[in-house]
């Protein structure tokens, strides 16, 4: 079995689909690649090769629906179905096309409390720069020109669900635990975890909060200069910035947190962080140095980081 490769797409409900379209096109630099009759939009970044990485649904709510991960082979779907069910989590096999532009997919609610999809096939489009003698970046394109959607951080109801979700992702989906924040008596509780299947520090993260939801999802940028330029682009467009350019202790990423027109928190995450490998020792942050881990320079809570986030739609 080869299993999960990477984050495939994020599925969100938005309040004003036209505002969202303008925002993700003009500021993030994504392209709308498909539009359904009900107004649902599918968007893609220039450096991604599959059809889309973001679904925006017109709604009465600003909420989080699902995250989907791409697996390597179609047979992985059957193998993982068996494995997930053996673990005690029920699954639903969806026919090709139920997930737009995707082959058959597996749907389940992970012990973290979130709905996930796994799929092996999605319509191939190619990068905007092509794959023969490509330019390093597209000359055309708008705004920040984010490369790809990098990771998602999900909020779980309490450390119990963080720990249950983390264990499931480690044992069943074979993610590796890159970093963790340990709290409580002798650090016995995981309040937050960062897990990877790729060679970057995280493809998913879980944090404990009062309600199930999505804290943010992140767009990848090359480095610090791109972060500064991205913040400039945001200010020029009056984007509400939550946390100005900073470094994370955890993952070592260079970051900005900001909000989309429905109030969904986004991040631009720059740099590799470090090379993640299955045998890398897990990094642990203690309760007293937790904020140093999150905002490395100030070491203190900042912005609306713990109070404001998107709730899950199905709760």
């Amino acid at each position: 079995m080869s299993g999960v490769m990477r984050l495939g797409h994020i599925d969100l409900n938005v309040l004003d689909i036209d505002k969202s379209r303008t925002y993700y096109e003009n500021i993030m630099g994504m392209n709308v690649v498909r539009e359904d009759d009900n107004g649902t939009l599918y968007l893609k970044c220039w450096d991604e090769w599959d059809k889309y990485s973001l679904i925006l649904r017109p709604s009465e709510e600003a909420t989080f629906n699902t995250a989907a991960y791409k697996v390597e082979k179609d047979s992985d779907i059957d193998d993982l179905k068996e494995k997930i069910e053996a673990y005690g989590v029920s699954t639903e096999l969806l026919e090709a096309g139920v997930l737009a532009e995707c082959g058959r997919s597996l749907k389940f609610t992970a012990p973290s409390g979130h709905i996930f999809h796994l799929y092996a096939e999605k319509t191939f489009v190619g990068k905007d720069v092509g794959d023969t003698n490509p330019r390093p970046w597209p000359f055309e394109g708008k705004g920040i020109k984010a490369h790809w959607i990098d990771h998602v951080l999900l909020m779980c109801e309490g450390p119990e669900n963080v720990m249950a979700g983390t264990k499931f992702f480690q044992e069943v989906l074979e993610f590796n635990l890159a970093e963790q924040v340990c709290v409580g008596p002798e650090g016995s509780l995981q309040a937050a975890t960062w897990l990877a299947r790729t060679s970057t520090p995280h493809d998913i993260a879980f944090v404990a909060g009062p309600k199930t939801g999505m804290h943010h999802f992140a767009f990848f940028l090359d480095g610090w200069n791109d972060i500064l330029r991205a913040a400039d682009v945001m200010a020029m467009h009056d984007v509400k910035i939550d946390v100005t350019p900073q470094r994370h202790g955890i993952t070592r990423g260079e970051t900005i947190y900001f909000f989309d027109p429905s109030g969904h928190r986004l991040e631009t995450f720059a740099g590799l962080g470090y090379l993640m490998q299955p045998d890398m020792p897990t990094v642990t942050w203690t309760e007293d140095e937790l904020w140093r881990g999150i905002f490395y320079h100030t070491g203190i809570e900042n912005g609306a980081f713990t109070t404001a986030y998107t709730l899950s739609a199905y709760k």
């Binding site: 309040l15 009465e60 709510e61 909420t63 937050a192 404990a208 429905s262 713990t306 404001a308």
Partner: protein, 106 residues
């Protein structure tokens, strides 16, 4: 055009421009409004409007029911002032379950 917005309990009067929502307009003043997403998802900016005319954008039904909306309970980040206003922030009710849950940073 600028209008005076009185935030109850804070007993402080501050101005908000008619083309800014109350969260954007008032967040420049220190410790006057809660920290939030300013666009409708998080629900921390729930207010009751006791005085004043306003225009509003679509509310997130996850946080504001139709009934709330009819009773002038709205999200401050989706309200733009049309006259002087008097508002009160409604703190999030925390259930017993929520209290037992570890919240990062608490």
């Amino acid at each position: 055009m600028k209008y005076n917005i009185l935030v109850k309990d804070k007993a402080r009067n501050h101005t908000c421009n008619e083309n800014k929502n109350l969260m954007d307009g008032l967040s420049i003043y220190e410790n006057l409004v809660p920290k939030g997403c300013h666009n409708g998802a998080c629900g921390v900016c729930k207010i009751h409007i006791s005085n004043g005319d306003y225009s509003k954008l679509k509310m997130n039904r996850k946080h504001i029911s139709e009934e709330d909306e009819n009773n002038n309970i709205v999200l401050a980040c989706k309200v733009l002032p049309k006259t002087d206003m008097k508002i009160e922030f409604l703190p999030k009710t925390i259930s017993n379950i929520d209290k037992n849950v570890y919240i990062l940073g608490n």
